[in-house]
């Protein structure tokens, strides 16, 4: 089995995945204008300010959109199809990309309440994933 595609992490990108390793889904808040943005940047996308804090999100949100893959997007995922990618609107006001787990394809829907979980996909890489709030949905 081939390994998951592993990003080359540089600078602030590292901080995001280091915190994921610690079971935290982080986002940034600008101390100057209060704007929020998902992944860490060195500037605020609203005011170009640099006084940014990296904060753990609650991990709660709803599905903004989803797609179920019936062909693997990478050889490492061939045994996993079908699997579902989601955009989730977190209650903190940022939109994040991730995978939906514990939900059969037919039950995936826009508006579904979800919470974050974490998957250690390699020795160095932990990915945030999303599960339905209130527990796994059965494939029936």
């Amino acid at each position: 089995m081939t390994q998951r595609p592993t990003p080359v992490l540089r600078g602030e990108e590292r901080a995001y995945f280091d915190r994921a390793r610690e079971r935290e889904l982080v986002y940034q808040r600008c101390r100057t204008c209060d704007a929020t943005q998902w992944y860490p940047r060195v500037v605020c996308i609203r005011c170009s300010g640099t006084d940014l804090e990296l904060t753990a999100a609650s991990g709660n949100g709803t599905i903004h959109s989803f797609t179920t893959l019936y062909r693997a997007g990478h050889p490492s995922r061939a045994a996993d199809v079908p699997y579902t990618m989601v955009l989730v609107d977190l209650v903190e006001g940022v939109r994040v990309f991730g995978e939906l787990v514990d939900v059969p394809p037919a039950a995936a829907r826009i508006g579904l309440p979800v919470e974050v979980g974490f998957q250690d996909v390699t020795d160095d890489l932990t990915l945030p994933v999303f599960r339905p709030k209130g527990g796994a949905i059965d494939a029936r």
Partner: protein
């Protein structure tokens, strides 16, 4: 800028399968043919505009391969919209005297390369580790959102592919010579829901080129000049999570800029060539370009509006869905627009077409460039 620069030469080469040519070989052959179409020689070209997904510095690769020594070059890469952007950039460069004869060129062997190791130049650290299919999965996220907000259906999306095939049947260069039905699109394998295989563009090889110069020079050349009447660009995201609104794109802005410069409205456009990498991306763009109101794209395409005989003569060569999509389609949108305005489109000719729009989009609807072209009568 309106009417100050014109397209004077075009070409397409091997739009399905390369006949033994490398990507730069396709660029070179297309360029040779386009320059000849313009009544020029390659040595007349002093401005070079190109983009590539295989060459890191395509203007250098091309210059060395052809012996060209341009005094101005621009290898702006904004995905499939690069070539519409190049037209605007070339017009600006010509106007300011930085070059006299501009060549826009592209070549790809994406079909012949299938199954071979493709270099991964750039990683998207926050999305790629999940193993999504780029760009199909982001487009599928857009499709589900459009369905949720506006009630768009898979049947309506399939109509986009069906209309494209109807046009392709009038194009002798198009690869598939049989009609397509909605049922066939829906029965094709689901790749990334709700998008089926036949909601996606073809994977082809192909090369194309286009030559531009100032209007006064253009009038001395053999082919009827096709004038650049309007141009606009806009861009906003690389990751799908960074797309501010999944159902409205910056094509709204690029088109507005182009229409304003041209002094035209969507109703004035005789034929349009709009990037159709996927059925859904075309549907969203038809709304954003003003051909139909936001959210009404589904019923619009289902009514036959974009098929031959419909209200909008769209992608008359069959587009990326049914003619040619060699990695990036942008240049082929322009060559078809020029062909229509010259009256050279054969069985698919739009009667008395004097204005044409070409809209390129890049990646997952993240980059946009709109070009409006016209004949002498539209000036």
């Amino acid at each position: 800028m309106r009417g100050e620069v014109a397209v004077v030469g075009i070409s397409e080469i091997d739009p399905f399968e390369s006949r033994g040519r490398s990507p730069v070989g396709l660029m070179a052959e297309a360029s040779r043919l386009a320059v000849a179409d313009a009544g020029l020689r390659l040595s007349d070209i002093d401005g070079l505009f190109t983009a590539s997904s295989v060459y890191y510095t395509p203007s250098l690769t091309f210059a060395e391969y052809t012996g060209l020594n341009p005094r101005y070059s621009d290898s702006t890469v904004v995905g499939g919209s690069s070539f519409e952007a190049h037209v605007g950039h070339a017009a600006a460069a010509i106007r300011s005297g930085l070059c006299d004869y501009a060549l826009v060129t592209y070549g790809s062997t994406q079909r012949s390369d299938r199954g071979k190791l493709v270099s991964q130049a750039e990683w998207l650290p926050y999305e790629q580790p999940y193993g999504m299919i780029h760009p199909i999965s982001p487009m599928a996220l857009i499709a589900h959102r459009h369905m949720h907000e506006f009630g768009t259906t898979s049947e309506q999306l399939a109509e986009v592919a069906v209309s494209a095939r109807k046009w392709a049947l009038r194009n002798p260069q198009a690869p598939y010579r049989v009609p397509l039905t909605v049922d066939q699109v829906l029965a094709s394998p689901m790749i990334s829901s709700p998008l089926h295989k036949l909601d996606c563009c073809l994977v082809t090889d192909g090369g194309a080129a286009l030559v531009l110069c100032a209007t006064d020079r253009a009038r001395d050349l053999p082919r009827p000049p096709v004038y650049v009447l309007g141009f606009g660009e806009s861009a906003d995201h690389r990751n799908i999570s960074g797309m501010p609104d999944l159902t409205t794109t910056r094509a709204v802005d690029s088109a507005q800029r182009a229409y304003r410069m041209a002094g035209l409205t969507p109703a004035d456009i005789d034929t349009a060539n709009v990037y159709d990498a996927f059925t859904i991306s075309l549907l969203v763009l038809l709304e954003d370009l003003g051909f139909v109101a936001k959210g009404e794209g589904g019923p619009f395409v289902a009514s036959g509006a974009i098929a031959p005989g419909g209200s909008l003569a769209l992608n008359t060569n069959g587009g990326g869905l049914s003619y040619c999509h060699p990695g990036m389609l942008g240049l082929f949108l322009l060559t078809e627009a020029v062909r229509q305005l010259r009256g050279d489109a054969g069985e698919r000719q739009v009667t008395a077409a004097t204005t044409a729009l070409a809209h390129g989009m890049g990646l997952t609807l993240g980059a946009h460039a709109t070009v409006i072209l016209g004949t002498e009568r539209a000036l």
